[in-house]
Every structure is written in C-alpha cells, then in structure tokens.
C-alpha cells in the first residue's frame, strides 16, 4: 500500500493512519468513527471534522 503517516483523530483522540500525500482541503475518513475529516494543514498535519450535509428526510 501507499505510504501513510499518522495524525490525531480530532473526535476520538486516537492516532490514525492516513495517506502520506494528502493535501490541504482533502477529505479522508476516520477509520474509528467513519467521520469525514478535512485536512486543514499539513505542517503540522491537522484534521478537523467536516460536517456532512444533513439529510432532510420525511418532513
């Protein structure tokens, strides 16, 4: 598999592995939470939760 680096999951505090070549603005998902995480900086590597669009079901 392609090279990976570790970053802190902003939701759970766990260390997670993500592809090494991510760029700012990219979305990866957190393996533990499944949440979408946005790369907000690469140096230092920082992730933030990217809120998904709410579904508007049955209203």
């Amino acid at each position: 598999m392609a090279a990976t680096i570790t970053a802190e999951d902003p939701l759970t505090g766990e260390e997670i592995e993500i592809p090494a070549d991510v760029e700012v603005g990219e979305i990866v998902d957190s393996p533990a939470t499944g949440a979408e995480l946005e790369v907000v900086s690469t140096d230092p590597l920082t992730l933030e939760e990217a809120p998904e669009l709410e579904e508007d079901w049955g209203e």
Partner: protein, 356 residues
C-alpha cells in the same frame, strides 16, 4: 372506461391541482382527489416528468387521463395542493395563492408559528408574514380553525403520529408538559420521498433498523408547539415502505391506571372518524401497528402502564403518506370547504398485507 373512473367530472364541486404531483405524497393526493366525489383534478405539475402521463410515474393511476405540466404554468383552481420539498412553497406561495382560493401545503413551510422557530430549527423563512395566517391541518387538534382557512399547513408525519398519541393525555391532565418524554419512532422508506440516495437503494435499505435521526429531528418543534412538551426524539428507518410508528415512553408526575387511560382516549377520540384506540386484548393485532392502517387515513393509538418504572408507554401508528400527509391534507380541505369530513377517505385498508 375504467373502474376507478369515479372522476366526478361536471358534478364535482371543486377544481384542484397538485404541485409536485410526481412525488410520493403528490401521487397520493392525485389518487385521493381522483376518486373524491367533490374534486376534479385539473393539473398536476412536475418539472422532470413534464408531458408524461400521471400513470407513467404512478402505475396505480394508469387510468387517469392527465399529463404533468410545468409548475411555471399554474391553472386557476379552487384548491391547490403543494407537495414539494421544504423551501419551495415559501418561495412560491404568492403564485400559489394567485392561482387558488385555498392552498394546502404538505411541507414544513407553514407549520410553525414564528420566524424564530424557523431560525432555530430550519434555515429561516422568506415570508414569515404568512406564519400567523396559516392553519395546521390536523383536524384532531385544530378542527375549529379550519373552516374557511385559505392557507393550510399539513403536519409532519412523525409529529402527527406523536401528537395524536399524546394529546389525549394533555386533555385529561395526565401529562402537564414538564415530564420526561422519550419518543422512539420507526418509519418506512416512503418518508424519504421519491428522490432517495445511496442509503435508500433496495440492497442497502432492506431489512434495516437504522438510526437516521438519532437526535435533533425537526419534528420536535411541531410537537413542542402543540403540546408544550419537549420530547427526546429519535427516528429509526425500518423495512417497510409506508408507515410511521411512534413509541412514547412517558413518566407522569402521578400514577395512572389503565382505566384512566381508556377514559382519556375515549374522551378524545370517540367521535373522531379516523382514530382508533387499540390497547391490549387478544389476537395478533393488540397494539397500534402501521400495517393495520396502511393505505388508509386512520390513526391507531394505544398504551400500556409499567408501574415498576412509573412509566406509561403510548403507541401510535399511521400511514405517513395518508394520515401523515396526503390524507391529512384532504381531510383538512374537506373541513375547510365544508365537505363531508370523510369524503374520499373511506378506504378501510387491507388484511393481510405485507410490508405496504
């Protein structure tokens, strides 16, 4: 000539149109109005299905001789029903009111009383001046204000199920509004509308119990507005197409007996043409179930007491497409126009029926 051609033609008292006629609730409105003795459907709109027949989309209406037209070209009618996604009606309400004397909207756009509520629960409102004028459609809680109403807001399906289940308890003073109330709702796939995404494909959506609104569902706002009760609301998607079932777990301030409850529900619903109380007894169907009301405008409510936990459990079941939207809308229109309340809504439902 077709069996279902009960289309009243020249005898019908009122003309009607359905904006959003290619959608799920729009299809139900078309079915109900088509077979309604007092309505004559003159228009159904769809942008994506323009020029196609109604039966192209709704196979149960293949006999209906009507083609979808653009919502840009609204005809003049007595009653316009709008079955469009949230936000569309508030944009077009003036056009709708120009085209029709009475507008019945199935979306959330005119259900709440104040702009503040739309700011809190939705993304604001573009014509808050109508919020005071509009009447909530559910006759069981607002019958007296419907006659003559010209802007009617049909309730949310999950809110309707919950309100119908709990209202008798408020009327009877069993609940006062400060109680802990958990409402755990199970709904079918038609609640999502005809659009659907990945999560609503058959392979992904079959056989599920899926938390789709774990917290913060917007219907809490309607419930609070009408009952004055703040509910802890969670909605799950389950494997049925039609139906909303609300289980309300309540912790009344004083003990309550099954006798008290029977009295409360009888008081509230004995004269209601569409409400049934089902609370224990024998056979297979002992409590409210969506299957038992599928395809109909009936609502079933029932209850059980749990003295050990000082809990009261209330069950409520409706067809989200009928009592929860299109049926409620027609019911309200009947009341608004002074037509026989049950006109066009008499279908008793089916037994057995699978996952309707």
């Amino acid at each position: 000539m077709s069996a279902s051609h009960t289309d009243a033609g020249d005898d019908a008292a009122y003309t009607a149109s359905v904006v959003g006629g290619s959608g799920f609730t729009g299809g139900e409105l078309l079915r109900l109005l088509y077979q309604h003795p007092e309505f004559d459907v003159v228009q159904a709109t769809s942008r994506s299905k323009e020029r196609k027949t109604v039966g192209h989309v709704h196979p149960n209406l293949r006999e209906m001789d009507l083609r979808f037209t653009s919502p840009e070209d609204l005809e003049s009618v007595d009653v316009l029903f709008a079955a469009t996604p949230h936000g569309v009606s508030m944009e077009h309400v003036d056009e709708f009111r120009d085209a029709a004397d009475t507008v019945v909207d199935l979306s959330a756009d005119f259900r709440l009383d104040s702009e503040d509520q739309y700011d809190e629960w939705y993304d604001g409102h573009v014509c808050p001046e109508y919020l005071e004028k509009s009447e909530y459609a559910l006759p069981e809680i607002n019958r007296e204000n419907l006659p003559g109403a010209d802007l009617i807001a049909s309730g949310g399906c999950n809110a309707t199920a919950t309100i119908l289940g709990l209202k008798p308890l408020f009327d009877a003073g069993i609940l006062e509004g400060d109680e802990q109330a958990v409402v755990d709702v199970k709904v079918g796939s038609s609640e999502g509308g005809a659009g659907g995404g990945d999560a609503s494909s058959h392979p992904e959506r079959s056989g599920i119990v899926r938390p789709y609104a774990p917290t913060g569902h917007r219907h809490e706002a309607e419930i609070e507005q009408f009952l004055g009760l703040s509910v802890s609301f969670t909605v799950h998607a389950v494997d049925m197409t039609r139906g909303a079932s609300a289980t309300c777990h309540l912790f009344p301030n004083a003990p309550v007996s099954k006798g008290d409850l029977w009295t409360a529900y009888r008081e509230a619903y004995a004269d209601e043409p569409f409400m049934r109380t089902v609370a224990g007894g024998g056979g297979v169907y002992r409590y409210p179930e969506p299957k038992a009301v599928a395809g109909t405008n009936f609502g079933e409510v029932g209850f059980e007491v749990d003295p050990g936990n000082r809990r009261l459990v209330v069950f409520s079941a409706i067809d989200n497409m009928m009592k929860g939207s299109a049926g409620q809308a027609v019911h309200a229109a009947n009341v608004a126009l002074g037509i026989e309340e049950t006109a066009g809504l008499e279908f008793a439902g089916l037994h057995p029926v699978g996952a309707p």
